[in-house]
């Protein structure tokens, strides 16, 4: 097996790993690097559970080859909270009970972060279209939308 050596930045930290040519970023994050916050739902790009940021752009980690990530910057769910505590998006998901089983939650939080960086005060339609690639089979989405709206308000107009 011809393993490839890759150096990339994950949540601001330089990380080196070996991967196989056909391995996805998702496999390497979870199985090689033990960063299991990023979830595997479908592994075909349909569910968004593995959403991460690559150079600031929202992508599915299951549809990126690990071998492609050399020299790029990856942000995962583990990079959202700070030492000071939860990110406001995470806090609002808790307050609004915008999760039940939790498998979709890391992807939704990462996708919401990307949304609010691009559209700080999105209307409901914008939120729903942006998050259309993040499937949740528990909540029915309304609590998620309310959490995102509340997080947007707090980030745009801090108390």
């Amino acid at each position: 097996m011809n393993k490839i050596q890759i150096e990339t930045a994950i949540n601001g930290e330089v990380v080196e790993f070996l991967c196989e040519p056909q391995q996805s970023l998702l496999e390497v994050l979870r199985e090689t690097l033990g960063r299991t916050g990023t979830k595997e739902g479908c592994a075909t790009g349909d569910c968004g559970a593995c959403s991460v940021l690559m150079d600031g752009r929202l992508v599915c980690a299951c549809l990126v080859l690990a071998a492609e990530t050399g020299g790029h910057a990856i942000t995962t769910i583990e990079g959202i909270a700070t030492d000071a505590g939860l990110h406001p998006i995470q806090q609002k998901f808790l307050e609004h009970a915008a999760l039940q089983c939790g498998i979709c939650t890391p992807g939704l939080i990462v996708a919401t972060k990307a949304l609010l960086e691009k559209h700080p005060e999105p209307d409901e339609t914008t939120i729903r279209y942006w998050l259309a690639g993040n499937l949740c089979r528990c909540t029915g989405y309304d609590k998620i939308i309310r959490a995102v709206q509340d997080a947007a308000r707090e980030l745009a107009h801090p108390a």
């Binding site: 097996m1 011809n2 490839i4 196989e20 040519p21 056909q22 996805s24 592994a43 075909t44 790009g45 349909d46 968004g48 959403s51 690559m54 752009r57 929202l58 992508v59 599915c60 299951c62 549809l63 990126v64 080859l65 071998a67 492609e68 996708a111 990307a114 949304l115 279209y129 942006w130 998050l131 259309a132 690639g133 993040n134």
Partner: protein, 294 residues
Amino acid sequence: MGGFSYAAPGSVDEVVTLLGEHARAGRRAQVLAGGTDLLVQMRGVDRTPRTIVDIKGVAETGTLRLDGAEIFIGAAIPSAVLNDHAELAALFPGLLESADLIGSTQIQGRASLGGNLCNASPAGDTIPALIATGARTVIAGPAGRRELPVEDFVVGVGRNALAAGEFLVGLKLARPAPGTADAYLRFTPRTEMDIAVAGCGVSVTLDTNGVCTAARIGIGAVAPRALLVPAAGQALVGTRIDDAALAAAGAACSAAASPITDKRGTADYRRTIIAVLCRRAAATARDRARGAGA
């Protein structure tokens, strides 16, 4: 599973050399752009080992050039990058409508026009939209470069015109003449995250009196490959794109369609709805063209 390898050449020549070596040795190589089709296929229907040739390291495949009479769109530019580009959106609103319909925000962060075209799905949304704009493919291979109109690039279901050792570098589009605008419309049961039951791309040019002087219409998901429908375009030329002209163009699209019946729709339904999509997309293109200098 052994036998996979990954290569990221830095130039067009290196890609062509690598593809050529594989072709001569009878080894499989496949070009990777955004990977949103390729990686899914590699885990599902087509698991055979191969060399994955990532072309994103080739600067030209990521180049967007808007100065000059000819616009160039690199084959591997993610659609999210294109959709964020206000100047490109002003030139080709219909093309970007088609790119913006494909997949989720996450998919659009990776998926490219070049990939959608090479994947050659009958339902690929950008293909009829590209046909409407008159886009040409720029192909690099062992014999140098060649160009092919988009309508001749897709040759069948999942099959394109690339020969062994060739790859798609990008797309060339003529800068729209004054009074020109495009539009793309598809039908899906859902508003998002779905695959076209039928789709229609239209580009029209109006003179200062509002009379149509040129029109190109592409249809998708109603034949084994997306088609240019010259008769539909001809039905608009010389008219003010009134209801009678729209009806004639729509009828020409229905006549050109050879749809199948599948879980997304019956052949009869597709043949009917492609006329509706054509009429509506052409009316949108006309209204946009009126605002674009006509």
